[in-house]
Amino acid sequence: MLDTSNRTEEIMKSVAIIGGGVAGMEAAARLSKCGHAVTIIERNEQLGGRLNQWHALFPARKPALPLLMSLKQGISDGVNVIINAHITGIEKNEDGFAIMLNKNRVVTANTLLLTTGFDIFEAERKEEYGYGIYDNVITSVDLEQVFRSGKPIQTAGGKTPKRIGFVHCVGSRDEKAGNLHCSKVCCVTAVKQAIEVKEMLPSSEVFLYYMDLRMFGRHFEELYKEAQFKHSIQFIRARLSEAFENPDGSLQIRIEDTLLAKPLKMSLDMLVLMVGIQPPKKAGNILDMLKLERDTDGFVLQEDQYVSPFKTKIPGLYCAGGVTGPKTIEETLTEARAVAAEISEYLGRRRINYAGQEQYVMEL
């Protein structure tokens, strides 16, 4: 159903997207295809967000680069991108939003989409695990960088590690760290990374220390099984309390093997901390500028989790992706598409007829 009778004003409606990661790029591509003027405002030098830090994606272990390329391809035509942008203020007016940037730039838009993403838990805060103190304690993000670099996995002392442990839930499901929520992606990431380590170092032993294995997604369980039967990776239901350092820089850990109901000690050459996802801090001042309410877990409060998950209390302001909680890339992409459709609908609805009345127009 296309309403042509009143279709006289063909002004382009504009969307500003803060955050040029997976969600922002995908939403931009879709919105741009729908004929809106889209501007991505990105804090960093390059687009792509967290995807830049990743080597391969679970569960299929597809490389991250092609996805990044295709996302970039999607916005190559007609999307306005501002990088190295620092937002100094945001104003809400009748027409939409005015976003003030450094170098006295202003972006105006009818709608604003927040895809500022999440933060990664600072592993130093879990001091007892020794990140930043013991040389052979690294995070899952560090390990992914090693994979990306194509270099061999080595201990700080330049040796090939024989035993590597992965600690689940670092900074997640931990009220002492201020995050009660589960980060959702790190269980399967740990399994993925463990397999990758085993493929690079087939003679090494790999252990995962988990509280619960949350293999909820499609093909996740298969990945778990693959880790077991192909790679003999050991899964120990335990949570680490602290790590010790041996004279040679290797590590000694003590855990409670909760299934055996006994403490267990073992030495490791390398400890990988599965750092969690937490509400944005750096992007937090943007949320504060907009006076966006936070949910109990610190992520942005959705208008309604089921009915209108992308809407906020402010008309014309949408959120998607990691800013409303931990998500897989798959989910983030899906959200990006959905939010694009919703924004289009909202912009379409605001078209104005001759008589100056607001009129509902269905998008094609």
């Binding site: 007892e128 839930c169 499901r173 931990d174 009220e175 002492k176 760290a177 509280m211 239901r237 335990a238 949570r239 680490l240 309390s241 602290e242 003590r254 855990i255 409670e256 093997d257 909760t258 109901a261 006994k262 403490p263 000690k265």
Partner: protein, 114 residues
């Protein structure tokens, strides 16, 4: 050993029906955080006592939940109150108070107060 007036059956199953949950109920009344425990075992892995004695706070809480009083009695006095578990517990359970209240419950049971 304190005689609680019944025996755990020779059968090695945990007999939930035969268990007595008064220790759990007693602790829970003044320390509701016992309910927050998710049996992750972090307390036990931090524990100063557990390396050398048959003691695990994580298990102790489960024993109390399941009503296994004999098991509680076997280990509840082995805690050193060092407090590492409090720092470690990801759920913010007030662990030492739980141990203390379990000890108190045992004393009260022996005096027939609960």
């Amino acid at each position: 050993m304190i005689n609680f007036g019944y025996k755990i059956q020779a059968d090695r199953q945990v007999d939930y029906d035969a268990g007595n949950h008064r220790i759990f109920d007693f602790v829970r009344k003044s320390e509701p955080s016992i309910d927050w425990c998710m049996s992750c075992g972090t307390c036990a892995s931090a524990c100063t006592a557990s390396a050398s004695t048959e003691y695990s706070l994580c298990r102790l809480i489960l024993n109390a939940r399941r009503g296994m009083e004999d098991e509680i009695l076997k280990s509840v006095y082995r805690c050193r109150f060092c407090g590492k578990c409090i720092n470690a517990c990801p759920r913010g359970v007030n662990t030492r108070n739980i141990v203390y209240l379990m000890q108190l419950a045992v004393t009260k049971i022996s005096k027939h107060e609960i």
